[in-house]
């Protein structure tokens, strides 16, 4: 077993060796290195064939038409293009957008920018489970609402929103539905038809493809129009100019093909590993799972170890690569905004660790992690004055703290 153990698959995944191999054949002089936009020779035609085959693979995973796929540099760009592009195109029909407080910053900051440009945005509070109450979403819709943007799977807590139910609400009112699927593609089935999705952001590097490539699904029937954010040679039907990165696109296509074929078997295996991890940790005292247990991607376990501070725990877990919603990792004093939005107390938000596992995680690694985490949590609690107070029966909320 190699140390450190990688358990941060929601941050990024290693590229599947099958993907890397194909990518290499689109770079060098003896490979298909041409510009897919070159129409006058074989180099261009070969590259274009590869790009279109990849477009088929991406479309197939989400039950879309290949013509509805626009290549981008990643999910952040897709989110920007979808939200700004739709808002700027449809602003005469209304200037109201609905989203949720636990969205990725690529959505939240884009909405903030639109507010500066005169749009109104409603930021929904999720339920303590992390899920959105559909009645609250419906109540937030107005006559001038043009767009609803809700992520499929949350990056921190892994909860799965009921996109099909949201799609029913939006389609019947002719409101566009944008879904950030960076964390769900290849892990949860996506069907743009039955879920009534209009715009969908995708990323390659969360599902064993390369970084720096993503896509935006843009519905054709009924047609969704966007104002381009990147102008130039008119690539991607004018929605996103710029020479296509053939090797990246081919990598994304192959990653999506593998995901479609292996999602069921991967998920079954990963779920078994996650259950092993959770059953190894959940009998410790004062351990809390963040987010809904069932309505959740198989690879995510977000846990708060009360009375232990997240950064010190991560320091103690230096043989494991995990991430923390805690303050100090981001050099600010704010605990995870996602956990705060769930109504978690600060202490628990500060004490959270996100374990995300994936295709290359082994049972041996899980057992190592369980043993290490248990030992270190107990050690840090021995150092924690809050643990003493808890054991003495002091209610921490009743204490007058000197905030600094």
């Amino acid at each position: 077993m190699k140390l450190p153990i990688y358990m941060d698959y929601s941050a990024t995944t290693p590229v599947d060796p099958r993907v890397a191999e194909i990518m290499c054949s689109y770079l060098t002089p003896d490979g298909k290195f041409g510009n897919p936009a070159s129409r006058s020779h074989r180099f261009g035609w070969d590259a274009d064939d590869a790009v279109e085959e990849s477009r088929n693979q991406v479309a197939a995973l989400i039950n879309a038409n290949p013509k509805e796929i626009v290549w981008t540099s990643g999910a952040t760009e897709s989110d920007n293009l979808a939200i700004k592009g739709a808002a700027q195109f449809y602003h005469r029909q209304g200037k109201h957008i609905v989203t949720c407080k636990t969205e990725h910053k690529a959505v939240l900051d884009t909405c903030r920018q639109l507010e500066r440009e005169g749009f109104a945005v409603t930021y929904l509070d999720p339920e303590p489970s992390g899920l959105i109450d559909l009645a609250k979403l419906e109540a937030a819709l107005r006559d001038d609402t043009i767009l609803v943007s809700i992520m499929h799977v949350n990056n921190e807590i892994g909860v799965i929103q009921d996109i099909a139910a949201i799609g029913e609400l939006t389609r019947s009112r002719k409101i566009l539905l944008h879904v950030d699927a960076a964390q769900s593609a290849g892990k949860v089935p996506i069907d743009t038809e039955t879920m009534k999705i209009d715009l969908l952001s995708l990323s390659a590097h969360k599902i064993y493809g390369p970084k720096g490539i993503g896509a935006l699904y843009v519905r054709r029937k009924p047609r969704v129009r966007l104002e381009a954010q990147m102008h130039g040679g008119g690539h991607e039907r004018g929605m996103r100019s710029g020479t296509l990165a053939t090797h990246q696109i081919v990598g994304m296509g192959e990653a999506f093909r593998i995901a479609r074929e292996e999602m069921a078997s991967d998920n079954a295996r990963i779920l078994g590993l996650r259950n092993r991890l959770w059953s190894g940790l959940s009998d410790l005292e004062e351990v809390y799972l963040n987010g809904h247990l069932e309505q959740r991607t198989v690879g995510n376990l977000n846990v708060s170890f009360a009375y232990v501070e997240g950064e010190s725990l991560i320091m103690a877990l230096k043989d494991i690569a995990v991430s923390s919603g805690s303050a100090c990792t981001s050099a600010s004093l704010e605990p995870s905004y996602v956990l705060r939005a769930l109504g978690r107390e600060d202490e628990l938000a500060h004490s959270s660790i996100r374990f995300t596992i994936g295709r290359f995680t082994t049972e041996e690694e899980i057992d190592f992690v369980v043993d290490l985490v248990r030992r270190q949590v107990l050690r840090l609690r021995e150092l924690s004055p809050l643990w003493d107070m808890f054991k003495e029966g002091v209610d921490l909320k009743s204490v007058q703290w000197a905030a600094h």
Binding site: Y307, V308, E309, G310, E311, S312, M315, S326, A327, C328, T329, A331, L333, P335, E345, D346, E347, H350, E382, L383, S384, P385, L386, W387, D388, L396, W401, A402, A403, H404
Partner: protein, 127 residues
């Protein structure tokens, strides 16, 4: 973030972890910070009849730098008079542990802790 060797040493082998009897007249307790801010430090000093700190204990909820700052502080205050102990500056702690700028607040908290502990001890003597 890269930690200095001294921070790692105090974090992995913290000195003087524990609790003194907070009801005792010759023990001063300083508890500073807040769970909401991600760090809480409890520093206790035991003072003998000559006004010398003869024992010190701590427990800290916080990042590695906060744990190291309080661990170092307990080493430094032992054997000092109350007056000397109050002269310990957060900058001395930050320098000794080579804390990066984002972690300087941990040393400030340690300075607050020793002041609070001395104050608690002094107020007990007044009664």
């Amino acid at each position: 973030m890269a930690y200095s060797d001294k921070v790692l040493d105090h974090y992995e082998n913290p000195r003087n972890v524990g609790m003194l009897d907070k009801e005792s007249k010759n023990v001063g307790t300083g508890m500073v910070g807040a769970p909401a801010c991600g760090d809480v430090m409890r520093l206790q000093i035991q003072v003998n009849e000559n006004g010398i700190i003869e024992d010190a204990k701590f427990k800290t909820y916080g990042c590695g730098s906060a744990i190291a700052s309080s661990s170092l502080l307990t080493e430094w205050v032992k054997g000092k008079t109350l007056e000397e102990a109050q002269k310990i500056k957060n900058t001395d702690i930050a320098e000794e542990l080579a804390l990066p700028p984002v972690k300087v607040h941990c040393s400030v908290l340690a300075e607050d802790a020793i002041r609070a502990a001395v104050e608690d001890f002094t107020s007990k003597q007044g009664k």
